[in-house]
């Protein structure tokens, strides 16, 4: 323990290290603040949506207390499907600034494509992503760790201290792992502290496991980079060479491999065009519009129980028939769209271990509740809810059946059902094991390389 303390002192006696630690603390704080602001905005938006829904329901209930209402008066007003704020929003913004967390669903707009962001976004920010805590932990933490630990023994080799150290009868691996631990610990303490701080910025309960796992991901990811530093020192003959090699490995794992994976994913499963989706939707709508009367007659033939007296369809019934037809035409397009995105994500899940940076980012966004899978579950539930809205209001429209006080309790209401905890836990644990395996591999290679004969040569 005292040796570790001396190593720590040897590290902190360098003023530059204090600057590095202060800089890292600053970037962590900035990342948390950014993530927290997005989380606060999401919370405010969700509260406003909930308040609006509550108010509307109250008004409908009071109106129905007085008299029966035409379903058009109620169904035309959108019901808001709301994805509850993420459990740990300050940890990672993830997909939450790209994919909608709420959707207004009304009977007339069931076939409109889901909207993305409502407000304009800086395109460069969309490309680079947010400067959130996950960005700092995945992209910058390795840089700060390498800045602290790139010279585990290469400088000692240059100065001659290495021979003095090795002559003491300490095994190089033990000495270097102790030194790596001493140099990595202050950086990792700050990183874990930031995760804990982000964990306090939530109104959700029961997020202890998520915070614990996030801290574990950060520690194991950090150990990977410390093992890389040890490996580099097994080869580098000078501190400058060690710094260059460590920097190159950072570029490879954090920049090149994720970009390469993105290229592969895009090539194998090209991103569907949202513009194309909208265009196809409009074309289907125009086509269905032309066949409006034919469609409504055909509908009443298939559903005579819903046909009004004299088979005279009004504008609303015609609109619904057209919308149903658009839905039928668009279903395969939408499925293709969703399938393509799903395949992309599956490929990312499969190949995330090519770089611990990808695995760590996937794990952190999953733990934050801003990852792909939670948003996908929301979209699936929204699609299902649109069906519920359709099935509830559509017969009432066709039969021109007014809504009464008794219907209030059966109005379609959206309630997001979180995925089973075991599913995200499995994904995160798999990612964690993958990063740990990569860290162990780097450590084994380093241990193999760090023999006194090779080092003292």
């Amino acid at each position: 323990m005292r040796t570790l303390g001396l190593e720590l002192r040897l590290f902190l006696v360098e003023r530059a290290m204090w600057v590095i630690l202060a800089l890292f603390a600053g970037t962590l704080a900035y990342g948390i603040a950014n993530g927290a602001s997005v989380g606060l905005a999401a919370r405010a938006s969700a509260d406003a949506a909930e308040k609006e829904t509550f108010e509307w329901n109250r008004q409908v209930r009071e109106a129905l207390e007085r008299q029966a209402l035409d379903p058009r008066q109620v169904a035309g007003r959108p019901t808001i499907a709301l994805l509850p704020p993420a459990p740990l929003p300050a940890l990672a913004v993830g997909q939450s600034d790209l994919l909608p967390a709420q959707e207004a669903i009304s009977l007339w707009r069931l076939e409109k494509p889901s909207e993305g962001r409502a407000e304009l976004e800086n395109p460069s920010r969309l490309l680079a992503g947010r400067f959130d805590l996950a960005f700092v932990l995945v992209w910058l933490l390795p840089l700060f760790l390498l800045a602290a630990a790139y010279d585990l023994c290469a400088g000692d080799r240059e100065s001659g201290t290495l021979r003095m150290v090795l002559a003491q009868g300490v095994t190089p691996w033990r000495w270097i792992s102790l030194r790596a631990l001493a140099r990595g610990t202050p950086v990792l303490i700050l990183a874990v502290g930031a995760v804990l701080a982000a964990g306090t910025m939530t109104e959700e309960r029961g997020v202890g496991t998520r915070i614990l796992l996030a801290a574990l991901v950060v520690v194991v990811y950090g150990l990977f980079w410390l093992a890389v530093a040890a490996l580099v020192n097994g080869f580098a003959r000078s501190a400058a060479a060690a710094a260059t090699a460590a920097g190159s490995i950072w570029v490879l794992f954090v920049l090149v491999l994720p970009t390469l994976l993105n290229v592969v994913v895009e090539s194998l499963h090209p991103s569907p065009s949202r513009a194309e989706l909208v265009a196809e939707s409009r074309a289907a709508a125009a086509e269905a519009e032309k066949r409006g009367n034919e469609l409504v007659s055909s509908f009443y033939k298939d559903h005579p129980e819903l046909a009004p007296a004299g088979m005279q369809a009004d504008m609303t019934s015609r609109m619904l028939a057209v919308q149903d037809e658009v839905g039928r035409a668009m279903d395969p397009v939408r499925e293709r769209f969703a399938e393509s995105i799903l395949q992309q994500q599956r490929l990312v899940d499969l190949w995330r271990f090519a770089s611990p940076a990808i695995a760590a980012h996937e794990a952190l966004t999953d733990l934050a509740g801003t990852g792909y899978w939670r948003h996908r579950a929301f979209q699936e539930q929204v699609t299902a809810f649109k069906g519920v809205v359709h099935d509830y209001y559509s017969p009432k429209f066709h039969k021109r059946q007014p809504l009464t006080k008794a219907d209030v309790s059966s109005f379609p209401r959206f309630e997001y059902v979180e995925e089973d905890t075991s599913r995200w836990k499995t994904r995160v644990t798999t990612g964690l094991i993958g990063i740990a395996a990569l860290a162990a591999l780097a450590a084994i290679l380093a241990a193999f390389r760090l023999s006194p004969r090779k080092l003292a040569a």
Partner: protein, 233 residues
Amino acid sequence: MLEAQKLTKRFQDRVAVDSLDLRIEPGEIYALLGPNGAGKTTTINLFLGFLTPDSGAARVAGTSVAEDPVAARRKLAYIPEMVSLYPRFSGVENLDYFSRLGGHARQHTELYELLARSGLTREAADRRVGTYSKGMRQKVGIALALATGAKALLLDEPTSGLDPAASHEFSRMLRKLAKDGVAILMATHDLFRAREDASRIGIILNGRLVAQYSRDEIKDQDLEKIYLERLSA
């Protein structure tokens, strides 16, 4: 005790150490003389286990360097020409650090005492090593040998660059260590110190130990003349 049996090391076609047989008993100071590239430092590296011999064996206090290099290194101390220490640490911190690495943790009071025995005052021991002279660094090296309770001491050109007073002081401490039973191998060019301190002197040339003399054998002779004759033979 330090022992080499038919110790041989080749670097490609060149034989750096050639069938070296050497036995240095506890309390003995052995000075290994030879020109640059004769194999002195290679011999020390073979005892340290930093090089693998092509044949033969090196032993430190009965422990084979090849079989258990860590245990062998724990039994010896090493003082190179320039004792490289951490310049931002004080002398006592360096001593604490290096002795702990070999599993020889000591209390601070003991460390100061060892540094004092090696000739470093308390004030100097608390100063950053970056401000130390070469002689002061050598003293930390000696203190380290004391702290680890080394059975053997390997010295590589220890007095090179030391002023006469520092060199004399260093020799005094070496003799003290030898008196305590440490086997000392000193690779050096310093004929004066070899003659003054060594109980035996060996001359190595092209990796071969070409001559050995006891203190008594060269007592009344000119060591420089003997050495130069051997080199030109």
